[in-house]
Point group: C2
Chain length 274, copies 2
């Protein structure tokens, strides 16, 4: 790479690092350790125990690429993280009929983990609804985002993906099923995140739908690379390449836009160098 | 009772019966049996498997007593029921550290019950957000109601009550703890329901707060009578009588209002004849 390209990549890495650090700061401020400690201590811990997901940062980037302010999408980005944290918390509760319990460290009892996950999810939507009082967004956009996040979190989104995930067998690879689960889990989360960012940033309907599809494809790639599938299996490797092409096509319309380089750099570092 | 009073009670019983039947119709229409059946079949079943709670009907009555239309509060009433149904579903999942599992019939595996509860909760908030499109409410009221329901469902409401409930011992009665749990569970649910109904019906701030406190006291009485405590214990019997007096004081301001008799009849049939 020529020196200017290296500099561009470094600048964009800083861009993403500031987004992620801003979201973390916002979340830490939103969930203070307060009374009752028996409730808020596990809530705080389990919010940050979930593995990193890029969906919240994509929400902010989508807001900025359509010309919005970071602050407008901050509560939605936090809510997207909380949907992820609640799903992760519940996914790891030891149940009698779980197909294969994953060995993770449990700091709290199953009942506490169950209840905390139940508390984390509505808390995210509360943050979005309350963000209205900051005067940054209009109520119609906020209500639309609440509908988007509720649907993505619920039984036509992440929850449906978790249902279907139970059918995945370790012994044989069912490419179609893995694609479906990745679409509903990481795909839906990133798709919703990007659409919400675009809505809150004041994007037009075309931009919102472009970013929604970008998030869907990019999220599916993440799902395949990081989790459900294995990128080395032939069928999956092909799917990843196909999804990457589809994703980039959706954001071409933002070329020349100052924030477009950020989306591109994210794409390269998250989806190509894994 | 003189014949006119008997007639009044009958009329009011019809009033409550129509509210409850309207809510059920609305819920059944909102959760169709659709694809994927593996997700929506348990969602449908578990939504209606929870024992009856009077909170959703109180939401409608509060809306009407401040002069609102039933349709304005219907989505919120459904969401209140779904918060209750999700909490009930999760409460009955067999976990290793549950203090005393209650013997109930499980139609689904624990993992399905967990995921279905996770899907039911955001679905309620989705219904409220989507109710905007019917043109019955203004967005500020709807956002306020979403905040109210998220808080009541979450870690400062029902979830906190469930945390504290684990500390209740069967062998000795801790009146203060039972009061706290009833306040956070049935109390918070009824309090939120009544406040949301009043907000959506266009009540003023004083009416909203009166109905919120009425719901709190009336819900606590229900919690003590039906569940956590036993009304025959001396300390609890006194508390019930005290709460009933407090509750009625909050709705005195609606005397002379056509819908007040409904609230009064509900109070008598639900809280006094148990």
């Amino acid at each position: 790479r020529p020196p200017s390209a290296i500099k561009m990549v470094q600048t964009q890495q800083t861009y993403w690092a500031t987004i992620e650090s801003d979201i973390e700061t916002h979340l830490k401020k939103s969930i203070p350790i307060r009374h009752p400690v028996s409730v808020f201590d596990p809530m705080h811990y389990l919010t940050f125990a979930a593995p990193r997901t890029t969906a919240p940062a994509l929400c902010i980037a989508a807001c900025e690429v359509v010309g919005g302010d970071r602050a407008q999408a901050m509560a939605a980005a936090a809510a997207i993280h909380l949907v992820h944290a609640a799903a992760f918390t519940h996914k790891n509760i030891p149940l009698t009929d779980r197909p294969r319990p994953e060995p993770i460290e449990h700091k709290f009892n199953p009942n506490i983990e169950l209840l905390t996950g139940d508390g984390i999810m509505p808390f995210g939507l509360e943050l979005v609804a309350e963000s209205m009082s900051l005067g940054l967004n209009n109520p119609d956009r906020v209500l639309r985002v609440i509908t988007e996040i509720s649907q993505a979190a619920g039984s036509r989104g992440v929850v449906e993906g978790q249902f279907k995930e139970m059918d995945i067998s370790l012994s044989e690879i069912d490419v179609g099923l893995i694609e479906y689960v990745c679409k509903k889990k990481e795909g839906e989360l990133h798709s919703c995140a990007a659409a919400c960012g675009a809505i809150l940033g004041g994007g037009n309907e075309e931009e919102i739908e472009n970013l929604r599809r970008y998030g869907l494809y990019a999220g599916m790639v993440q799902g395949i690379l990081n989790g459900v599938g294995s990128k080395n299996r032939k069928g999956l490797q092909e799917m990843v390449e196909k999804l990457k092409v589809l994703a980039l096509k959706e954001v071409e319309c933002f070329k020349g836009n100052g924030k477009f380089d950020g989306i591109l750099a994210w794409f390269e570092s998250e989806l190509c160098n894994v």
